[in-house]
Symmetry: none
DNA sequence: CCCGATTTGTACGTATGTATC
DNA sequence: GGATACATACGTACAAATCGG
């Protein structure tokens, strides 16, 4: 009796969905503060760990922003089930692709000028491995520029 | 102001780093099972929540794989990926920097041509969040090209 | 500058549920 | 069904950050 395809939703999932729905229904303005954890506990009738887990999920997905000593605030500019990376990628997919082609050409030029054929082949291998390797969090990282050098 | 770059490391962070270091030092083979949670508790002298938080971070970054009723297992292909990453960066630092400048200029051009100022600002916000957000494994991701589009 | 109130962060303990063997 | 091991949930206590008096 284990093959039940029913989603056993944890309390944290349940609370997270309710908070999300409440925010989406327009009861909150952007930047507004969420009720405190004790209030949410009474409001949903669950313990603090469940509240914190729910808030953690929503904050991880970008819907909430938590600050110690201050409170939890609504961001409200993210779409459902979409991380920041995914949204950025979809929004600028064409531009990124164009940049990517430029990047590959430039890499090839530099490699051909300054590197031996063996080293060029090595670098190409690196890039191929990076293509297949799952990065962090189920391999959703497709960043083009994410830091300084 | 609180400009101290010192990270107050929680117990979970400490345990996660130790486990990571232990795995990297080669004491585990790929696919091998980690000690159980009670054993890790005694081994590190912390409570179960800290162990679970540490394992959760490592699993989220892809180093561990947890399965209920079975145990926690080592994936160990992340280390290779990071090694390649670091090697590529170190080996071709100058080339990458040159490409980076090219990339930034091209991105600015594309943004100015095809996007409204508001969208440009939005994308800049995303990049800033990526800079501060602790990504996988202590936020060392500086990839220029890490996937296909 | 210190103090206290408020709010989130961390850590522990305990009990129970669920999956695998 | 029993044994093992991770998952969920609650409660408690204290630490740390923020703000206002």
């Amino acid at each position: 009796m284990m093959n039940t395809p029913i989603h056993k939703r944890s309390l944290a999932d349940e609370v997270a969905n309710q908070i999300k729905a409440y925010i989406r229904s327009g009861h909150y303005v952007a930047g507004q503060r969420l009720p405190t954890e004790p209030e949410l506990m009474k409001q949903y009738g669950v313990g603090r760990s469940s509240i914190r887990e729910a808030v953690r999920m929503l904050a991880n997905s970008g819907l909430l922003r938590v600050q110690q000593g201050l409170g939890t605030f609504i961001n409200e500019f993210v779409e459902e089930n979409e991380t920041l990376h995914q949204r950025l990628n979809r929004a600028a997919a064409k531009d990124i692709d164009e940049v990517r082609q430029l990047l590959e050409v430039k890499i090839a030029q530099k490699a051909a000028l300054n590197r031996t054929p063996k080293q060029l082949e090595e670098i190409e291998g690196f890039l191929n491995e990076r293509l297949q390797a799952p990065g962090c969090s189920a391999g959703e990282d497709r960043s083009v520029y994410s830091g300084r050098y």
